[in-house]
Symmetry: C2
Amino acid sequence: MALLDLLGRRWCLGVIWQVSEHGPLSFRALEARCGGVSPSVLNTRLKELREANLIWLGKDGYEATEQCLELFQLIEPMRDWSHAWAEMLPELE
Amino acid sequence: MALLDLLGRRWCLGVIWQVSEHGPLSFRALEARCGGVSPSVLNTRLKELREANLIWLGKDGYEATEQCLELFQLIEPMRDWSHAWAEMLPELE
DNA sequence: TCCATGTGCTACGATATTAATAGCGCTAGC
DNA sequence: GCTAGCGCTATTAATATCGTAGCACATGGA
């Protein structure tokens, strides 16, 4: 449940996704990719994720740790699921 | 990204988890299981999840739709991951 | 040296989200 | 009628998030 609490914070999943998929990303790059996060919130998430040993700040920007990549392997299939989900949603209305 | 936005709301993942794993749950039962959600927020999440066709209100309480169960199959392995994660975290300090 | 640029990050006030508590209307059983 | 449980709402306070501006530092020219 502690995991769900951590992941259930705004932009947290998005940061994990971006960092895991698009390699090292600078603070500003993350800011842009996440589509308008405020830097204060982004910084808070980065701090939390660093304390959780999911990301770390290398010389080329923020990178995913091995643990984060493992987690990403788990949430990555959700992309396929979300496509099917997005397609069937309008049919119900 | 729309999925991450929906799932990245507080208690949303928790509700999906509880409903998918513990079968039909009443409003009050969910309230108790999620460990202190306020009913207003819970109701908002339930409304959102119903519009997203992830849960529905049967005669025995809230149940997961087939789509939700598929999604749950994807996030369920995260339990194992979280155990390893919880064990290695304190070692870093 | 001075300026410009980019970095990670912070401060602050405004806005939106969540929490906490109480209670409504309804139904079923006694 | 009374009690209890249900899904759900209202209201106010606490909290999180946003948006904007800016800091301190490093790098790289002119």
